[in-house]
């Protein structure tokens, strides 16, 4: 019996040992398999990383050399921002996509003078890197300037050239006129060039504060074309210098626009003339066509379609060179509530000064590129 008990105990002990061994081996196997799983996970991460790297390198290799056209627009604009007008014009001419790119980057110009000569059209403006520049280019350059420029003042001059050849015996009268600075009329090519400039003006993207046309020598001022240009319509001030008597209709048409087309208060149109008085001419020939509020020797006030607005015509005269008397006429839209005491008739020199173009050099240092950074 005792023997049987001992045997049972030994057997139990063996079973315990066996169970312990099995438990230990299971634990170590579990640990090993956990380690294996961890290693496998790490390998998978490394493998994925390597696949991604190889993918990147393959993509980099296959995409080929990086070109100007591959750059994002914003980055290309940063490069364009560093270029001056002339370089931008050249870039503008490389391709249509670069043309669109350059168009996006605007440049500020205090003043641009377009000169129409017998040899073609030229533009003068201040350029911050080169000072005052004069470019003699095709109309394309003018179109370009109008597209990318934020222009404060625009002057359109015809360089008519005085006929001063005193040896031309047959043209005594013209020669005498030339001595006194009287111009000859512009030729057909200049008239065509002017038409082209006015056409370009139609594409002007900005709204200049002031647009001036020097009409000396004009056979006919293309007033209808000018009135149709939106930048002229929206300009705070547009004016015609040296308006010839053959173009008297200009004043009447602009007054019609101001009265019937609803211009903003403060909008003004000015005329200067040397051998006739546009104010007197208007008051004698055309004033009856309009609804007159008041009229005097130097002032005419007209009603407009809008009850809140009136149109005021002011006359002044003076001598630009102390030699020839110049007549001035200003037409502006005023609030109907404005009283006569607010007309500022004694301050006509201020608006008369607008006819004089300041030196390009004076605005040179104010010129700045349109950049935010």
């Amino acid at each position: 019996m005792e023997k049987q008990v001992n045997f049972n105990e030994e057997l139990l002990e063996e079973i315990r040992l066996l169970r312990r061994e099995i438990a230990e081996s299971t634990r170590s196997r579990n640990e090993n398999s956990a380690k294996l799983v961890d290693e496998f996970r790490l390998m998978r991460v490394e493998l994925n990383k390597s696949i991604a790297q190889i993918g990147h390198r393959l993509i980099d290799f296959m995409k080929g050399p990086y070109n100007w056209n591959d750059l994002p627009t914003e980055m290309k604009l940063m490069c364009v921002d560093q270029l001056d007008v002339f370089d931008r014009f050249q870039l503008w001419n490389t391709s249509s996509s670069d043309r669109a790119l350059v168009d996006l980057q605007k440049l500020n110009f205090d003043k641009i003078q377009i000169k129409i000569t017998t040899e073609g059209v030229s533009a003068t403006f201040t350029n911050m890197n080169h000072g005052v520049m004069e470019y003699k280019f095709s109309n394309l350059f003018i179109e370009f300037l109008f597209k990318i420029g934020k222009i404060e003042e625009l002057w359109i001059d015809i360089d008519k050239g005085l006929k001063n050849d005193l040896e031309e015996e047959e043209e005594d009268i013209l020669s005498l006129d030339a001595i006194w600075g009287h111009p000859t009329h512009i030729d057909e090519s200049q008239q065509n060039a002017l038409n082209d400039v006015i056409f370009c003006l139609g594409n002007l993207n900005c709204k200049p504060r002031k647009i001036t046309l020097d009409a000396i020598g004009f056979n006919t001022v293309p007033i209808d074309q000018l009135r149709a240009v939106s930048s002229i319509e929206t300009a705070k001030l547009w004016q015609i210098r040296n308006l010839d008597k053959v173009n008297t209709d200009c004043v009447r048409k602009v007054v019609q626009d101001f009265v019937y087309m609803g211009r903003a208060i403060g909008t003004a149109f000015q005329v200067s003339a040397s051998d006739w008085n546009p104010f007197d001419h208007f008051s004698v020939n055309y004033v009856y066509e309009f609804d007159v509020v008041s009229q005097s020797d130097h002032l005419i006030r007209l009603r407009t379609e809008n009850q809140k607005k009136h149109v005021l015509l002011e006359h002044s005269s003076g001598s630009e060179d102390g030699f020839m008397e110049t007549e001035y006429l200003r037409i502006r839209v005023i609030p109907s509530t404005m009283t006569e005491s607010e007309y500022e008739t004694d301050r006509d020199w201020i608006w008369k000064e607008e006819f004089e173009m300041s030196s390009f050099h004076s605005s040179y240092y104010d010129q700045s590129f349109d950049s935010d950074w």
Binding site: Q53, Y66, N93, R99
Partner: protein
């Protein structure tokens, strides 16, 4: 502008690791990363400037190792320069650069564009602005035709600006001496 460079020895605490798109790791001094707004913001967000924070490698998936190397060269050169201000851009077509910058950016256009992209991605304004000016200097004073050649632009403008003569649509032009070397990595061995 040049600066005297004091000597400092980088310690592991003031470094971070960046990983380029082709898997190469670069140890970068935290001082250098101040020039990159992208990295500086990342370091600030993850508090990598603290010594007790574990710094994981920063993957830069858009930048190859060659570009990274070039950028580190730039960062190291400008390590002690004053902080870049936007007003530091001076408009002038004289386009004068430091000799070091001229040598550094004496690279083909395609590499320059890649570097510009990388500088934009990492937001390193001084490098970005300098590359823009160098690009502008390569354009300035050139005719439209020459610009087409330099920038490898395919034209679709039909007539010459001045003469009105039709332009030959030739896109095979390439810049002298460029395209042989590239910052793009070499293809992986397969």
């Amino acid at each position: 502008m040049s600066c005297e460079e004091p000597t400092t020895s980088p310690t592991p605490e003031n470094n971070i690791t960046v990983v380029s798109s082709d898997g190469k790791e670069f140890l970068l001094d935290l001082k250098l990363t101040e020039q990159s707004e992208t990295l500086a913001r990342l370091i600030s967000n993850f508090e990598y400037d603290r010594t007790d924070v574990k710094k994981d490698p920063v993957p830069l998936g858009n930048i190859t190792s060659a570009q990274m190397q070039k950028i580190i060269e730039w960062l190291q050169h400008h390590r002690y320069y004053p902080k870049w201000e936007q007003n530091d851009i001076h408009y002038s077509t004289s386009f004068t650069f430091e000799t070091w910058v001229e040598e550094y950016l004496n690279i083909p256009n395609n590499e320059m564009f890649e570097l510009l992209n990388a500088a934009n991605y990492l937001n390193i304004p001084r490098l970005f602005s300098t590359i823009c000016r160098i690009m502008a200097s390569r354009i300035t004073g050139k005719s439209a035709e020459q610009i087409r050649t330099v920038l490898n632009i395919k034209t679709d403008v039909k007539n010459d600006v001045y003469t009105g003569i039709p332009i030959q649509e030739d896109s095979s032009s390439s810049e002298d001496g460029m395209s042989e070397i590239s910052l793009s990595p070499s293809p992986p061995p397969i």
